[in-house]
Amino acid sequence: MARKPQTELPDVFAKPGQAPQRNTPIEDLPKPAEPAPAQPRAPSGDQPAPAAATPALPVPAPAARPASPPRAVPPPCPAPSRSAARGVAMLAGAAVLVALLAPLLEDDLLGHYGFATPAFRAQHETALMLSRQEQKLRELEQRLNEAVAQLTATSADLQQSAMRSTDGVAWGRLLSLGRVADALRGPTPFAVDLAIAKSVGAGIDEFQPDLGKLSAYANTGVPTFADLNREFRRIADEALRPGRGILPTGLVRRLTELNQWTSSSPPPADPTPELVQSATARLNDGDLAETIALVRQVSGAYQGAFAGWLQDAQARVNADALVRRIDRSLTALARELPR
C-alpha cells in the first residue's frame, strides 16, 4: 500500500515523546444515561461518531481555575409568611394527590415517556404476541387458500389427465402423495393435502398410524430443523443463564474444570448444563434424534422448559421418517406408470 502523506497534525496530537503519562480514570466520570439500543449502522469510514455529552474541540488542557472571590454571607432567611404557608400546604396536598394516583397512572404515564414498567412490558409483550399470532393466522389462512386453489387446479388437471389417460388415477395418487410429502418436509400445513390424497385413494391409509402422530400439526405444519435449532438455543440460553451472563455458565465451568490449576473444583451436581452442551453439539451435527435423547435426560427443573421443544422435535423426526416412507412408496408408484 502506498504511503500516504502525513498531513500537518492538528493540535489534538501529543508532541513526540511528550504524551501525558496518566489519564483520567473512567470510573471518575459520571455514569452516562443508558443509551438507546444500537441501531444497525451502514459500514462507513466517514460517518461522525455518535453525539455524546462531550465538549467540542479544540481540546485545551483545563485551565487553572481563577481564585474565587470571598464568598458573601447570605442574608438571614425571612420568617415564612402566611401566604407562603398556604402555598406549602397546597403543594403538600398536590403531592399527596399525585402519590395516591400514581399507582393508577404509573404504567400509562411512564410508558408514555418510554419507561418500561413490568405491567407496561407485560402489556406490550401480550400485544406483540397477539399481533404475531394474528399474523401467523393470516399467513396460515393465505397458505390454505393458496393450497386449495392449487389443489383445485391440480384436481382439474388430474381429471383432464384421467380423461386422457387410463393411468390418470395412478398419476393422481402419485401427485397427491407427493404433495403430502412436500408439505411434511417443510413447515407447511398439510391437512388439505391429506384430504385430497384420501379423496383420490392415494393409498394414504397405509401411512395413517404415522400421520396420526402428526395430527396436531396438520393445520400448522411441522417445525423445520432450522426452527428447532433456533428455538433450542433460545430455550437453552434462557434456562441455563440465570443472570445476564453471555457465556453459558456450563462452558465457563467446563473450562474451569479442564484447567489444571482449578482442577480441585467439585464436579457439578446437576448434569443438565453438560447434557444441554452435548445436545447442542449433536444439534450442530444435525443429529436431531440423538439431541432429543439427550434433552430427555435433563433434570426435572428444566424438563418444563424443554417440553414443548421436545414435542416439536419428535414431530420433526416422525415427519422425516414418514417422508422417507412416502418417498419409497412414490418410487414404487412411479415404476408402475407407463414410460
Binding site: 500500500m1 502506498a2 504511503r3 500516504k4 502525513q6 498531513t7 500537518e8 497534525l9 492538528p10 489534538v12 496530537f13 501529543a14 513526540p16 515523546g17 504524551a19 501525558p20 503519562q21 496518566r22 489519564n23 483520567t24 473512567i26 466520570l29 455514569k31 452516562p32 443508558e34 443509551p35 439500543p37 444500537a38 444497525p40 451502514a42 459500514p43 462507513s44 469510514g45 466517514d46 460517518q47 461518531a49 455518535p50 453525539a51 455524546a52 455529552a53 462531550t54 465538549p55 467540542a56 474541540l57 479544540p58 481540546v59 445476564r244 451472563g245 453471555i246 457465556l247 462452558l251 465457563v252 467446563r254 473450562l255 474451569t256 479442564l258 484447567n259 489444571q260 490449576w261 482449578t262
Partner: protein, 225 residues
C-alpha cells in the same frame, strides 16, 4: 476514518501490546494511524513516548492526548479534518457505561482474553456490553503458553468460537516485552520471529475485518459530469 478498539474487563491481558502492534502494522502499510490511550496506566502512551522521543517529523502512528470524556469530540474532529485513516483506542479494564458510547463509534472491537478460568469468568460483562453496542467484534487469545498441544488453549478456542469470532492466538513470547522496552514492536524488533509472524497474521484478520466495515466516500458525481 476507521476505529479499532481494544476492550477488556481484566487488566494485563495484553491489550496495549496488541494495540501498538496493530497500529504500527497499519502505519507500515501506509495508513495514517492515531493511538488513543484512555487507560490511566497509560502503557500505550509511555511506549509511544519511548518510541518518538527526539523525533523531528510528525510520527506515524501519532497519539491523540485526550481525556475520556473528550474522546468522541476528538474523533469527530479527526474525521472532519481527514487527518487520520485509523484510530486505535486502548481503554482501561472496565464496563463503565461511558465505554458503550465509544464502542458504538468503533468499527471493529477486539477483546483480548487469556486462556484462564479467571479471564473467562470476567468475559460475560464485557461481551454483553460489546453486543449491546452492536459492533463487529472478535476475541484474541493472548499470552497463550507456547507449545503444540496446550490443553488450555485447545479448550479455550472452541469455547470462544461458540460465542463469537476468534481472530487469533498470540503466544507468550519474549519479543513483546523486549521490543516494548525500546519503543518498538515485535514485528520491528524481530521481523522474522514467531511473535512477528503471529502479529502479521492477526493484522491480516483485523485489517480484513476493518475493510469489511469500510465504505469509500461517494465519488463526486457532479465533478465527473
Amino acid at each position: 476514518m476507521q476505529i479499532l478498539m481494544f476492550a477488556k474487563q481484566k487488566g494485563g491481558v495484553g491489550a496495549s501490546t496488541l494495540a501498538r502492534e496493530m497500529g504500527t502494522l497499519a502505519a507500515a502499510g501506509g495508513e495514517r494511524v492515531v493511538f488513543v490511550d484512555l487507560d490511566p496506566q497509560a502503557s500505550l502512551s509511555k511506549w509511544w513516548n519511548r518510541r518518538t522521543a527526539g523525533a523531528a517529523d510528525p510520527p506515524n502512528p501519532a497519539l491523540a492526548a485526550t481525556r475520556p470524556d473528550q474522546l468522541l469530540g476528538v474523533l469527530n474532529h479527526l474525521r472532519a479534518t481527514d487527518s487520520t485513516d485509523l484510530v486505535v483506542i486502548d481503554v482501561p479494564p472496565s464496563v463503565h457505561g461511558f465505554l458503550l458510547g465509544i464502542m458504538q463509534a468503533a468499527d471493529v472491537i477486539i477483546i483480548p482474553v487469556r486462556p484462564t478460568a479467571d479471564d473467562f469468568e470476567a468475559l460475560p460483562d464485557i461481551v454483553d456490553m460489546v453486543e449491546r453496542a452492536g459492533r463487529r467484534y472478535a476475541f484474541v487469545l493472548t499470552q497463550a503458553p507456547t507449545g503444540r498441544r496446550i490443553r488450555a488453549v485447545e479448550e479455550a478456542v472452541p469455547i470462544l468460537a461458540r460465542q463469537g469470532r476468534v481472530a487469533g492466538v498470540v503466544r507468550f513470547r519474549g519479543a513483546f516485552p523486549a521490543a516494548g522496552a525500546v519503543g518498538r514492536t515485535a514485528t520491528e524488533y524481530e521481523p522474522n520471529g514467531k511473535a512477528a509472524a503471529e502479529m502479521t497474521e492477526l493484522w491480516a484478520y483485523v485489517g480484513a475485518e476493518l475493510r469489511k466495515m469500510h465504505r469509500p466516500p461517494p465519488s463526486n458525481l457532479a465533478a465527473v459530469v
